[in-house]
């Protein structure tokens, strides 16, 4: 055993999601990275983990990391790109965590960066379809939206919900986003707006999908805190897998990889799920956010729409779900999306604006996932001091 050290999040930054046509991967990366670099001062960053899903498909760029570290004047610092679809960020966080935990580096940066708007939507759909089993799903036109839509249909049938009941997810996420200056969607949404929005994949509507954005977000992990007041420590990490062709799954309403990742992280942190105060889930589609909560054990299966509409998952409760507004409000920057969740969670635990009203709570959990239950990661953050 060479686990000798603790791992702290000592800096964080986020470029709000948007259509950053004037910026490429390098500029977005630099914007997020230089901000965390300035926060840590002269700390030696041993390596940079870059979470990115689509640079080969959308920007014709392989070995992305090399060009990013050179761009920020750190040519001899290895920047390692992690590609795990839209779940790249969580895997990059785990790899970075392991490097610090194992004592290989004192400090490691993790940067998620993605440019979704370099192509038109039908080409982006094709890129997203590569997160399916492409030979047998994407080949026939299956996309992640189609998979989520069928999961939504199964969920509605299984628990007896109408579409209107599930519309509570986008309503709540837009409400949270309207109070978050870092959000991309900062407008409240009414049931009428949602019911009148276009159908993406029946029964899934536009408001059920996290809007694609360009963006970047970064943290620095170190083996000691850089200040002695409130700091964020990573208490546990977990990873789970259930990658399979959709037809070989027994159920579309349980995310096995999320359940396994959660249990692994809780075990490492010596916690039970009831200890968790705040949660950020990977709601690329509203149904996936609900299934994640239920698969993590935070909400009983089939209860999420009911609890949400009662306000039982809003600020002041335990747990508070997606105080940031989730990816629904923050936007969906592909492989960087998990870093948006991580940075939001750090800000929430630190009570930074606009999360100052959440109060001093101890534990936050972040869930990231690639595709439909393919590979999931869960990280537990603790506010200490």
């Amino acid at each position: 055993m060479f686990n000798t050290t603790e791992v702290y999040v000592v800096a964080h930054s986020l470029v709000p999601g948007g259509r950053h046509y004037e910026k490429g991967l390098k500029e977005l990366f630099a914007e997020a990275f230089l901000r965390v670099l300035d926060q840590v001062g002269n700390s030696q960053i041993g390596a940079i983990y870059v979470a990115n899903a689509f640079s080969q498909v959308l920007q014709d760029q392989s070995a992305l990391g090399a060009f990013l570290s050179d761009y920020v004047g750190l040519r001899r610092v290895p920047a390692i790109r992690i590609e795990s679809g839209d779940g790249s960020s969580g895997v990059a966080m785990l790899e970075a965590y392991n490097m610090v935990k194992a004592g290989i580096y004192d400090c490691v940066a993790v940067v998620g960066v993605e440019k979704m708007h370099d192509v038109v939507s039908i080409k982006l759909n094709k890129a997203l379809a590569t997160i399916t089993d492409y030979e047998y799903e994407g080949f026939f036109g299956v996309t992640p939206a189609a998979q989520a839509a069928m999961a939504m249909r199964e969920y509605m049938l299984k628990y007896g919900y109408d579409y209107e009941d599930l519309a509570i997810w986008p309503i709540k996420m837009h409400e949270r986003g309207s109070k978050n200056p870092y959000a991309y969607m900062r407008k409240q949404a009414t049931l009428k707006d949602i019911l009148e929005s276009e159908v993406v994949a029946d029964p899934l509507r536009l408001y059920d999908t996290a809007p694609a954005v360009d963006g970047a977000a970064a943290v620095v992990l170190c083996n000691k805190p850089l200040r002695d007041n409130a700091v964020i420590k990573i208490e546990g990490v977990g990873i789970g897998a259930y990658g399979t062709y959709l037809g070989q799954r027994d159920s579309l309403t349980e995310l096995v990889s999320v359940r396994d990742a959660t249990n692994m992280a809780l075990k490492m942190a010596h916690l039970s799920i009831n200890d968790i105060n705040l949660v950020e889930v990977h709601d690329t589609y509203s149904i996936l956010g609900m299934l994640a909560l239920e698969s993590m054990g935070l909400v009983r299966p089939g209860e999420t729409p009911r609890l949400l509409s009662m306000g039982a998952l809003d600020a002041g409760n335990k747990p508070v779900v997606n105080a940031s507004g989730g990816l629904k409000a923050m936007g969906f920057p592909g492989g960087a999306s998990g870093m948006y969740e991580v940075v939001s969670m750090v800000m929430e635990l630190m009570n930074e604006k606009p999360f100052d009203s959440l109060g001093k709570v101890e534990y936050g959990i972040v869930q990231d996932m690639a595709g439909f239950d393919l590979i999931s990661t869960v990280m537990i953050f603790r506010r200490v001091g």
Binding site: F139, T143, A201, D202
Partner: protein, 136 residues
């Protein structure tokens, strides 16, 4: 039509699956898999080819309006999960002008159709799709 530069060998090596829905059956325990895989749940690595039946039942479906580039001219696509003799296959549901008439449990048959084409002079990819037996 968008130029896809579809790869010949990538398509050609999947012809048994795309044309005939050829899965595999474990020689030891009899489990059937589609798509084929190298190791069975029982641990065995011995399989024989197994052709799925051509009649089945619709289990779940969605009408997909936001499609990838190569399907732009065919939208909306109906994507469904079909049970073929106990094996579930994901694919397109075709010959259905009124998707609101689709219901889980309805009978479907396997049909052979064009899946995508690569511009005017490129490769045409064929494969299985599913057609409801009752008009819809």
């Amino acid at each position: 039509m968008v130029e896809q530069r579809l790869s010949v060998p990538r398509y050609w090596r999947r012809i048994p699956q795309y044309y005939r829905l050829e899965g595999v059956q474990c020689v030891k325990c009899g489990r059937i898999y589609y798509p084929p895989r190298a190791v069975c749940e029982c641990g065995s690595r011995e399989f024989r080819p197994y052709q799925l039946p051509s009649m089945g039942k619709l289990l779940n479906f969605t009408v997909l309006y936001s499609v990838p580039a190569e399907f732009e001219k065919m939208k909306p696509l109906i994507i469904g999960i079909v049970d073929l003799g106990g094996v579930r296959v994901v694919g397109q549901i075709v010959d259905c002008m009124n998707p609101e008439k689709l219901t889980p449990g309805m009978d479907v048959e396997v049909v052979f159709r064009m899946v995508k084409m690569d511009g005017t002079y490129g490769l045409i990819n064929y494969g299985y799709k599913f057609r409801p037996l009752d008009n819809c």
